[in-house]
């Protein structure tokens, strides 16, 4: 019976939400083909403690590789470790998240294995001898249905396309020996911003600011609104990251992050096509813009025509009040 391998992404010894998405997806495929879910967990000493969480989401076996060198992402060693395991076993599919790391690791692994790969997958089904997936292309303007032949196949799943679902797996752990110190490509430093900050790919709510905010310091308005919601991350347009008001990693759009939160609030954003490419799949879109002709209003479920400096503080206060009275 073929098994399914899931890569459980961890950072700094902590599981990322996308790890649970990959394991959940692997469980779905394994239940279909009748095999087991094997999850790969790589990190510095102590990361093995996270195996229990992976078992709760369906992992039957957790392959743990611990090494001090895995404190940073180790691309070559990690890809080799996954590929070797796949070569030595009977696997139908190898599932990654299309996170920033997965966008590197999944094709690296597929290249080593010489097997078909689909990336940034938004839905998938495993048939007899083919795997069929959907993949957005042309900056999100089309959806392609792709067919992969051969076994195994590698898939990377768009973050948020699968909701983590608890389902107990056997959760046996196996240690895997790996040492990244000799690899050619070395990540020498991982630079993280405020680690308390919610990541754009994981936040259920995103408040994004555009050039309409006029200066870096006015992003306080956006941050205050995010804080009022409590579970929100702050994003930006390219106009804003080009100005240096926010870091490049906050950019949403065709050439930035692709997000689909429950709620996306666009503050002083015109709604250029390249920006829409990154957020138009959000479940609910709110736009605040003083120009009633701004294209963002064409995709906004709820629009308010007005000055952000007037509307946003009022909204922040109202959200605070709504959350207080519901507690």
């Amino acid at each position: 019976m073929p098994n399914v391998l899931a890569f459980a992404e961890a950072r700094g010894g902590e599981l990322r939400k996308v790890a649970l998405e990959a394991v959940t997806a692997a469980r779905q495929v394994a239940d279909q083909v009748g095999g087991e879910v094997h999850a790969v967990l790589v990190g510095p000493a102590g990361v093995a403690a996270k195996a229990a969480t992976l078992a709760q989401y369906g992992a039957d076996v957790v392959l743990v590789a611990e090494h001090a060198g895995f404190a940073n992402y180790a691309p070559e060693t990690t890809a080799a470790l996954v590929a070797d395991r796949v070569k030595g076993g009977d696997y139908r599919a190898v599932i990654f998240s299309a996170s920033q790391q997965g966008k590197d690791l999944a094709p690296r692994t597929a290249a080593r294995l010489g097997c078909a790969i689909a990336t940034d997958v938004t839905s998938f089904s495993v048939g007899g001898d083919a795997v069929i997936v959907t993949h957005p292309g042309y900056t999100g303007k089309v959806v392609q249905t792709l067919k992969l032949v051969g076994t195994p196949v590698v898939l990377s799943l768009r973050p948020g396309s699968v909701s983590p679902a608890a389902k107990a797996g056997a959760g046996r752990t196996e240690q895997v020996a790996a040492d990244p110190s000799g690899a050619r490509v070395q990540v020498t430093e991982t630079i993280l911003g405020d680690s308390k900050k919610l990541d754009l790919g994981e936040a259920p709510i995103i408040i994004s600011g555009g050039r309409g905010l006029k200066a870096a310091e006015h992003f306080k308005l956006v941050e205050d609104l995010a804080a009022a919601f409590g579970n929100a991350a702050v994003g930006a347009t390219r106009a804003v990251t080009d100005e240096g008001w926010r870091p490049h990693s906050d950019q949403i759009g065709q050439t930035g992050r692709l997000v689909s939160p429950e709620l996306y609030v666009a503050v002083g954003i015109s709604g250029a096509i390249q920006h829409l490419a990154g957020m138009r799949t959000s479940k609910c879109i709110v736009a605040i813009n003083k120009d009633k002709e701004a294209p963002i209003f064409k995709v906004a479920d709820y629009g308010i025509v007005g000055d952000v400096f007037e509307v946003v503080p009022a909204l922040t206060a109202a959200v605070q009040q709504a959350r207080q009275s519901s507690h």
Binding site: N72, E76, Q100, K103, D104, P107, R108, A110, A111, C115, A116, I117, A118, T119, D120, I132, H135, G137, Y138, T139, K141, V142, V143, T145, L146, K147, L148, V149, G150, V185, Q186, T190, I191, L192, G201, I205, S249, Q254, T255, E262, L263, I273, A277, R280, T281, C284, I285, I296, F297, K298, V299, D301, G303, I304, V305, G306, A314, L315, A318, A322
Partner: protein, 250 residues
């Protein structure tokens, strides 16, 4: 410093695409075409590297029908020294098939650096460079937003969620380029004239096996038309109510 940059010709994206009669691609009627965005950054980054070192040259390679010559000429007019068209009638969707042809061309080129955009803007996969690196046995750094080369070694920065990674690697290597590295220059008139005399070689593409195909292409489900609920701060209570009762996100 000898650098190869692999570039792709893609439609410009600021249009509303229609699906072709085949149901498997976009209707190409009336589309404008250009170098894929990230490939443009890669060409610019390659030119800046050779300019900074004061030595070396940049070669550009593209796979496809004769139409890709226009894209190759653009890179030549930006400053590349030589172009190669790996000729085939249709560009396969599978990165493995394309990478086989690219690797066959690159193998004997003696390149210190082989550059790609981090992904093509149409296919949006970002796989080809990985297969090329594997076939050539070279180290690869993907999605560099900064890149420096000195003393036979490279250092790069990659963007990750909420931060970045600094990466060190030896040459020769394959690197793919994210945006933020450099805005592509516009070809000067002098560049355009010079490009006409630069070598553009055409060879048949030795494509690899295809195991990934496009079965169908569709437009995403349309979003319901937007609705403006009011003006100014006075509309805020209505918005909050809708967020609570209709969208249920509050």
């Amino acid at each position: 410093m000898k650098i190869a940059v692999c570039i792709k010709r893609v439609p410009e994206m600021d249009v509303n695409f229609k699906i072709a009669a085949s149901g498997k691609g976009v209707d190409e009627a009336g589309l404008k075409w250009d170098m894929s965005d990230f490939d443009g950054y890669a060409v610019e980054a390659a030119l800046q590297l050779t300019e900074k070192l004061g030595a070396g040259e940049v070669h550009v390679i593209s796979l496809g029908g004769d139409v890709v010559q226009e894209t190759l000429r653009k890179a030549l007019s930006m400053g590349a020294a030589k172009a190669v068209q790996l000729k085939c009638d249709a560009v396969p969707y599978d990165a493995f098939a394309i990478a086989a042809a690219l690797a066959a061309e690159l193998k004997a080129g003696g390149y210190d650096l082989i550059m790609f955009g981090k992904m093509s803007i149409d296919g949006a996969n970002g796989v080809t460079q990985f297969v090329v690196a594997e076939l050539l046995g070279l180290p690869l750094v993907h999605a560099c937003s900064k890149l420096e080369i000195a003393g036979g070694k490279g250092t790069a920065r990659r963007e990750i969620e909420g931060g970045g990674e600094l990466v060190a690697f030896p040459l020769p290597a394959v690197v793919s380029i994210d945006e933020g590295i450099a805005r592509p220059r516009y070809p000067s008139l002098k560049g355009i004239m010079a490009a006409k005399k630069k070598p553009l070689e055409v060879r048949p593409a030795q494509l690899g096996e295809v195991r990934l195909t496009v079965e169908k292409m569709e437009l995403p489900p349309a979003r319901a038309a937007g609705r403006i609920i009011g003006e100014g701060a006075g509309a805020v209570p209505e918005l909050v109510k809708l967020l609570q009762t209709e969208a249920k996100v509050l």
